[in-house]
């Protein structure tokens, strides 16, 4: 090779370096797959290993990922995932138990028996005994044992407790007979010691209303006021009973108004009741007496009433056919209004069901109508007895509790670990239910501990009278109270801070399956992990991309340049030219 050629070649390289030419090529790229896991690290590692050969795997949710794999529970940030989403559901141990849900009133009253329903999904423990124990403030207050009937089932155990007033931390522990491992979950119950205000207003003396009132008057959960109009201009009263039902200001103090002989109500009274339900969220119970009126029908939406006098008393049951009342004289509408709920029905011989006790929403309140006219007759003990007392106590109690207070406060969750956020939602009733255009509401929120008080900032929400915010759990475990004040109305709820909060963990695999299915993926179990790469490959389109290459931008062009110049120098040296 002549030195000129070498020199020219080196010069050419230098020229190319100056010109920086570009080359284009088309390549197929390795898809990027994001693997997300909150609490199953080992299984997530296995999933990454399985995917590593075909895909570029990253941890956590990535906008650039072609597909996302969720291992275990569904994290909140998954909604930001792009591309198809796959789920790997961990296989359950056998036997396995988990407290999925605890049903109990959040804010029951003292002097009442509260039923705590603990729901435990059980797998692989057919025929074994499941012990569920309930502790309150560390003391065992109830326990029950239930035999597991199927291989995969949910066992529900109802344990009654009678808490006294205050914030109570209840912990449910479930354990299979002979198994050392147990699952436990805690929750907070804010037991109230106030009474539910109830007004009985009888337009004329009414047997049913009178006996229902006697039931409520003997129940320590209620504060009862009544007015019975005995004749024109004459009435018997107890407490500060309003003269009429027209004025909301005189009725808004009550959670529930029970009206006896409602067919005697004037149009103004019925209008007042409607205002009470719409703007107070109150509950109205109409104890019918074999007749209605046009104004009542307008309020309830019912029409075509039918009455029957039967030869023998018949049971009035709930939907599960559990007897609630017994009566011979019944009164019901031929057609229930829309959105009505039936609380008590009579099943006739031809299997048609007559709604005897039913309710409809009216604004934020509720209108309950009872057509069990002579149910009071079968309230006593003996062969013809029915659950008259229990029914009215439960009905009026339940409705009164559901009637909102002046300020409603909700903390979720109320059992937190130090530093954890809890969402706060406050509803100022009068502002929320106001029908005016311009509504204003002011609230003041503070978190109270034994030692100090911290102001909490809450923000107005979209709806008038609703405020939301978050409270960060203090570092010191203990029971704190979040106090809300709006004018003269106050509300308070506990926030219990514990070092480790075990809350019920529900099985969301169905939800997860539905979610990934909606995102073009599938949910597989841990045992099918080796199918995951092929599933992702079939779901993800192979991406070919055109790549532009600037070879002279690589420092390696120096190497051929130096080699050419070196060879040229060596040739000249050998030939004695240099």
């Amino acid at each position: 090779m002549r030195p000129t050629v070498l020199r020219t070649a080196a010069f050419g390289v230098a020229v190319l370096a100056v010109l920086d030419p570009s080359l284009t090529s088309e390549r197929s790229a390795r898809p990027l797959v994001a693997v997300v896991s909150t609490d199953h690290d080992v299984l997530a590692a296995r999933a990454r290993d399985a995917l590593d050969r075909r895909f570029t795997v990253v941890r956590g949710v990535s906008d650039a990922a072609s597909a996302t794999v969720v291992v275990g529970e569904m994290p909140d940030e998954l909604k930001y995932a792009t591309g198809p989403v796959f789920a790997v559901i961990p296989a359950r141990r056998r036997p396995d138990i988990r407290i999925a849900r605890i049903d109990a009133p959040v804010s029951p009253q003292a002097n009442a028996q509260v039923t705590v329903d603990v729901h435990v999904p059980v797998v692989g423990a057919t025929g074994r005994d499941l012990h569920v124990q309930l502790t309150m403030d560390g003391l065992v207050v109830g326990q029950k044992t239930s035999t597991v009937r199927a291989d995969s089932t949910e066992v529900s155990v109802a344990i009654p407790v009678s808490p006294d007033a205050g914030a109570k931390v209840l912990q449910a522990t479930a354990r299979l007979n002979g198994e050392p491992a147990a699952d436990s979950a805690s929750f907070v119950m804010n037991v109230r010691d106030d009474r539910l205000p109830v007004l009985f207003f009888d337009s004329r003396p009414s047997w049913t209303s009178t006996f229902a009132r006697r039931v409520i008057e003997s129940d320590t959960r209620f504060s009862t006021v009544h007015r019975v109009v005995t004749s024109r201009g004459l009435s018997n009263t107890a407490g500060q009973a309003p003269i009429t039902l027209r004025d909301l200001e005189s009725t808004k103090a009550f959670a529930t108004i029970v009206v006896g002989a409602p067919d005697q109500l004037s149009e103004g009274d019925v209008s007042g009741l409607e205002t009470f339900m719409r703007r107070r969220g109150g509950r109205v119970v109409l104890v019918m007496e074999a007749r209605s009126s046009a104004v009542l029908d307008r309020l309830s939406g019912a029409a075509d009433w039918t009455g029957a006098q039967l030869a023998v008393p018949v049971p009035i049951t709930d939907a599960a056919k559990v007897e609630l009342l017994r009566a011979r004289e019944l009164f019901w509408p031929a057609r229930l209004p829309s959105a009505a709920s039936v609380h008590g029905l009579h099943t006739a011989r031809d299997s048609t069901e007559k709604p005897i006790v039913w309710s409809v929403p009216v604004g934020a309140g509720r209108l309950i109508i009872s057509g069990a006219i002579d149910a009071w007759h079968y309230r006593g003990a003996g062969r013809d007895s029915s659950g008259f007392d229990a029914f009215w106590s439960s009905m009026i109690g339940g409705q009164s509790i559901a009637a909102p207070a002046g300020v409603e406060l909700r903390i979720s969750p109320s059992l937190v670990e130090p530093g954890q956020h809890a969402e706060v939602r406050v509803t100022v009733r009068d502002a929320f239910l106001s029908e005016r255009e311009q509504v204003s509401a002011r609230i003041r929120a503070s978190l109270i501990s034994d030692r100090d008080s911290t102001a909490i900032r809450l923000w107005p929400a979209a709806n008038p009278g609703v405020f939301t915010g978050a409270v960060v759990a203090p570092r010191n475990p203990g029971t704190y109270r979040l106090n809300i004040q709006s004018g003269r109305e106050r509300a308070s709820a506990p926030l219990v801070v514990v070092s480790a909060a075990n809350r019920p963990v529900s099985d969301k695999s169905d939800l997860l399956s539905a979610f990934v299915s909606s995102r073009g993926g599938v949910a597989i179990t841990e045992n099918d992990l080796n199918r995951l790469p092929s599933l992702i490959s079939s779901a993800v389109e192979s991406v070919s991309r055109v790549e532009t290459w600037h070879p002279m931008r690589s420092p390696w062009w120096i190497v051929p340049f130096a080699l050419l110049l070196g060879a040229e120098w060596w040739w000249r040296r050998r030939n004695g030219l240099a």
Partner: protein, 680 residues
């Protein structure tokens, strides 16, 4: 074996027995100490007993040198003897080791000397038991102390160390002395958890206690017991369920632990007496001369008297004369608690006339002083005219369904006749229909009599007209205007009677289908008339006529202004007591509660509901737990569950609902929207 050797062997065997006994005592003493340690950490009694037995067995088996079979070697026994005495001079060991089969001079000499030494010694002197028994006694005391409980130890220690004796009750003795009339014996109860006594029993209390005074509290009050020689004594009369709380106090008034004993008072049941014959109301048009009667009675303790008493009533209106006498009877006493009596009642002596009434009942008393006599159900003998007997039925409201049944029977017969009509000749149908019409009229007549005022209608019907009596209707207008017929029983009854009239007419005309419709209409009206919200004004006999002057009367204005405070029922004191006890028992597990406060809470509960068996059971358990000193957590949990279960039974069930004002408002808005879209 020569005699000297026999003497030596017998001596050695005795010494061996003594050594075995010593080792056993040593083992028992050590076992007791170990058992005390085990008991102090909460070990159960069987484990303690096993430990003692094991220590004895180990000590006896292994002996001094911790070798098994030590008792087999006689030379070893002899060496132990030699260590205890200088008289042996090793001859006993030598004699024990000599072979017994060969007699030599030396052997004879040694054995002879050893035998003489053995004669001079006794195992009891060589191995005395005194010190060992003392050690055993001490260890037993230690063991018992741990079994008695830490409370007692602390009390004893307090007394020994502090020098002052804290008040302690050691023994409660109750003599339950039933009232003399009962004939029951005195019962003596020692340290009971509960006393059962007949009402009005005198309960004598004898308390052995360390303390200056002893106070006894019952529901009736508190009293200081009187100190006698070695006890405190008092008494009270058991009148109602309750408790006896005994509390010792020292000279400064500081109370000790309170002992609580439940008290159940069994009431003396009243006698039961029944008229077994005739045992029913009798209606005579002709009074028989005699009537056999029989009475039976029983009592839980003793019957005192039994007789049959009658009251003869004669007269009319409200002017009656009453004569009250007993019927002579012969009493048979099976025992003190169960009597029967029989007799023949001479009714002829009473000179009963039509319209007279005799009320008779049996009367018994028991031996309880001041007890009121107990009467059986009263029956009547009524002398009636022959026609009046039939009227007995419709005077009684409780037989009201009979009328509906009668009308129902007419309907059934009509239906049957309609069904057979096709297969019968027309004359027979007509005949049957007329018979039914007669039956329908009879039923109608019953109701007309019952209403007591529509005789005019009967007359009208008899005259062949079925028009309304306009005068009567006009008179009833006043009732209608006054709202008195808001209760529609009378109206419904009148409609029923008229429907019966129409049915009767239709039957007479052999119009069976129309008759059936009218009969059913009558039945419907009857059912409405007899429903619960209505009442029937019925005719009253002369004897039943209401004397209006004796009625309370008033004006409507008196009902004005009846007002009172709103009703807020006070919480049940039992629930408050149960909650208090619950918190005290719960505090036991955290050592935050003293035994005194737990006992006081139990006392408050017993005071709130002394007759409740579940309450008594809880109080008994709480008492036992508080006496035991350290209360295991399982016991506390069990007590908490038991108290909680009782609370659950007393409280109403809270509905599982929550407040969601936004969801409620949304539901209401949706319904409003639906109503606007589909007008209802």
């Amino acid at each position: 074996v020569w005699p000297e050797a026999l003497t030596v062997d017998r001596f050695l065997a005795g010494a061996r027995r003594r050594l075995v006994l010593l080792r056993a005592i040593e083992g028992a003493a050590a076992g007791c100490v170990l058992g005390a340690l085990i008991g102090a950490v909460g070990g159960p009694l069987p484990l303690v007993a096993f430990t003692i037995a094991l220590a004895m067995a180990v000590r006896v088996t292994l002996g001094d040198r911790w070798q098994t079979g030590w008792w087999k070697s006689m030379p070893a026994i002899a060496r132990q003897i030699e260590r205890r005495t200088t008289q042996g001079r090793n001859l006993l060991v030598t004699a024990a080791e000599l072979p017994r089969g060969t007699r030599t001079y030396v052997n004879d000499a040694v054995m002879k000397r050893a035998a003489s030494i053995a004669d001079a010694l006794t195992p009891r002197e060589l191995f005395p038991l005194g010190r060992l028994l003392g050690a055993l006694g001490v260890s037993i005391v230690v063991l018992l102390a741990t079994r008695v409980g830490t409370v007692a130890i602390i009390d004893v220690a307090d007394r020994m160390l502090g020098g002052s004796s804290s008040p302690v009750i050691s023994r409660l003795v109750f003599n339950v002395r039933p009232p003399p009339y009962s004939g029951l014996r005195v019962a003596t109860l020692t340290n009971p958890s509960r006393i059962e006594a007949l009402a009005n029993s005198r309960i004598e209390v004898s308390i052995e206690a360390v303390g200056a005074t002893v106070r006894m509290e019952t529901l009736a009050g508190t009293q200081e017991l009187t100190r006698s020689a070695d006890s405190f004594r008092g008494n009270f009369v058991a009148t109602s369920d309750g408790f006896v709380a005994i509390e010792a106090r020292d000279s400064t008034g500081k109370p000790g632990t309170r002992s609580l004993v439940g008290l159940t008072v069994i009431e003396d049941r009243q006698p039961r007496v029944a008229l077994t014959s005739p045992g029913r109301d009798l209606f005579f048009s002709t009074v028989p001369a005699t009537l056999p009667v029989a009475v039976s009675a029983d009592d839980d303790l003793q019957l005192a008297t039994l007789h049959l008493r009658y009251t003869a009533v004669s007269g009319s209106g409200e002017r009656f004369t009453f004569v009250e006498r007993d019927v002579p009877m012969t009493i048979s006493r099976a025992n003190a608690r169960s009597w029967t009596a029989r007799g023949t009642w001479n009714l002829a002596q009473l000179d009963l006339a039509p319209g007279d009434l005799v009320v008779y009942r049996a009367i018994a008393t028991d031996r309880r002083p001041g007890a009121s006599p107990v009467e059986s159900e009263s029956y009547v003998i009524e002398v009636v005219t022959p026609g009046a007997i039939a009227a007995e039925g419709f005077a009684a409201d409780d037989q009201r369904d009979r009328y509906a049944v009668s009308q129902q029977m007419v309907i059934i017969k009509t239906e049957r006749l309609i069904a057979r009509r096709g297969s019968m000749v027309s004359d027979s149908v007509m005949e049957q229909a007329r018979l039914l019409a007669a039956e329908q009229r009879q039923v109608r007549a019953e109701f007309v009599f019952m209403m007591g005022g529509e005789v005019e209608d009967l007359a009208a019907e008899a005259a062949g007209t079925l028009q309304l009596n306009e005068v009567a209707e006009a008179e009833a207008e006043g009732d209608l205007l006054a709202g008195r017929q808001q209760n529609r029983g009378r109206i419904e009854m009148m409609r029923a009677i008229r429907a019966m009239s129409r049915a009767s007419t239709a039957l007479t005309e052999t119009s069976l289908d129309q008759a059936l419709r009218d009969e059913r209409s009558a039945l419907d009206n009857l059912m409405r008339a007899f429903s619960r919200s209505r009442f029937i004004l019925r005719a009253l006999t002369q004897r039943e006529r209401i004397d209006l002057e004796r009625r309370l009367s008033g004006s409507l204005s008196l009902t004005a202004g009846l007002s009172g405070p709103g009703v807020e029922p006070a919480p049940d004191p039992r629930i408050a007591s149960l909650r208090r006890l619950l918190s005290e028992v719960a505090a036991l597990s955290m050592a935050d509660s003293s035994r005194t406060s737990v006992t006081n809470a139990a006392l408050a509960l017993l005071r709130a509901d002394p007759s409740s068996e579940p309450v008594r059971r809880i109080v008994d358990r709480v008492q036992a737990a508080s006496r035991a000193g350290r209360v295991p957590s399982t016991t506390v949990d069990s007590l908490v569950r038991q108290i909680s279960a009782l609370l659950d039974r007393m409280l109403p069930r809270a509905p599982n609902v929550s407040v969601d004002i936004e969801a409620s408002a949304l539901a209401g808005t949706l319904r409003d929207a639906a109503r606007r879209r589909v007008p209802q």
